[in-house]
């Protein structure tokens, strides 16, 4: 029935692997593969499986995904029960707390473990609704720290220039203030001197001289 099918999608179960779906791990370490699921109407006898699809091995036809963990959860009040697991995989999730966490830890990571890990969940209570999410694991020899030399240089130069500008303005203000203070003393003398300016008389005189020759 198409109507009920759409209804099922609207109420669907959702699986999430967190904000980013890539995980980088150091060779020979233990890596956490996070996975949580949310249901709208609760769950009963929920079955979850972790699959591994290798990106290292290239074969034709492509290899089927490998099951690495298979568990079952009766209801919200109980922890998951193990059905089968790969010996290197350890369950570290908990479904009795607020969020349904079904994360696993892969011990002793090797380069051949790089690939796609799928967390698959099936909820019989929601008409066998299924959902999955994938994480991509990369295994590296050495963890590279992000380099921010460029940012440091830019921030350093811009900050330094702004600082120099502020310093320059301050010094200019201070110097002008000092000059004004020292000149205040001298201004008294200028005010008390005679009112007429020599320059004005000079100009007037020159004007009179210029007017004379055309008349003649």
């Amino acid at each position: 029935l198409p109507g009920l099918h759409i209804f099922a999608i609207a109420l669907a179960l959702e699986v999430s692997v967190g904000k980013t779906n890539t995980v980088t791990a150091l060779n020979n370490s233990n890596v956490l593969l996070p996975c949580t699921f949310t249901t709208c109407i609760g769950f009963q006898d929920l079955v979850f499986t972790w699959y591994f699809n290798s990106t290292e091995l290239v074969a034709d036809p492509a290899p089927l995904p490998l099951q690495i963990y298979h568990g079952k959860i009766k209801n919200k009040a109980t922890e998951p029960t193990l059905i089968w697991h790969n010996p290197r995989v350890e369950f570290v999730g908990s479904t009795t707390k607020k969020d349904n966490n079904i994360s696993i830890v892969l011990n002793g990571v090797e380069f051949s473990d790089a690939g796609k890990y799928t967390c698959h969940v099936k909820n019989p209570k929601e008409r066998n609704a299924q959902h999955n999410a994938t994480i991509f694991l990369t295994v590296v020899h050495k963890m590279v720290e992000t380099d921010n030399t460029v940012t440091l240089i830019i921030v350093g130069v811009v900050g330094g220039l702004i600082g120099l500008l502020i310093l320059f303005m301050l010094i200019k203000r201070v110097v002008l203030f000092i000059i004004k203070k020292t000149q205040d003393g001298k201004k008294e003398c200028l005010v008390s001197s005679s009112g007429n300016d020599n320059t004005e008389n000079g100009l007037a005189g020159s004007k009179a001289e210029q007017k004379a020759p055309p008349k003649a």
């Binding site: 460029v150 240089i153 130069v157 811009v158």
Partner: protein, 161 residues
């Protein structure tokens, strides 16, 4: 006078655009190899697809310096443009565009440092290719160097009418 001002403004905008293009496009050095033409820039090495630029450990610091100073030159040229427009409306008659000129000259210094380091360190051999020659981004950067100097000096000399 207005014509001169308009001309300087147009050259300034052209400088900003050229700086953006020069920094972002990855065509500073171009060479040919058995797979076609390869171009390298400040950030990536491009053939048909682009990958991370391979840089030897002794050149790493120089490349970071070039990247940083090209970005700084873009920042300062844009700041000078905005300052010019602000000063156009707020400066009193007869005064000079000191702030704009000063910022433009700082931008000139940044371009000078960036292209000098690049010319000294990265010209010559280029990985994976033979016959390397300079690409258009390198030429644009040197053109911006000249333009920014001229514009900076002009701003310091120009008086507001």
């Amino acid at each position: 006078m207005l014509v001169l001002l308009a001309g300087i403004f147009v050259v300034h905008i052209a400088t900003v655009i050229m700086l953006f293009v020069s920094t972002i496009a990855n065509v500073w050095m171009v060479g040919s190899s058995n797979v076609g033409t390869i171009s390298t820039g400040l950030w990536l090495l491009c053939n048909k697809t682009c990958t991370q630029l391979p840089v030897s450990s002794r050149d790493e610091a120089s490349l970071k310096a070039v990247q940083a100073f090209m970005i700084l030159s873009i920042i300062f040229s844009v700041v000078a443009l905005v300052l010019f427009i602000i000063q156009l409306f707020t400066l009193e008659k007869g005064k000079r565009f000191y702030m704009t000129g000063a910022v433009m000259l700082v931008c000139w210094m940044c371009i000078l440092i960036a292209v000098s380091i690049y010319t000294a360190r990265f010209t010559g051999t280029m990985v994976y290719s033979t016959n390397p020659h300079h690409g258009y981004c390198f030429i644009l950067a040197w053109i911006c160097f000249c333009f920014s100097f001229i514009i900076g000096i002009l701003y310091l000399v120009l008086r507001k009418k």
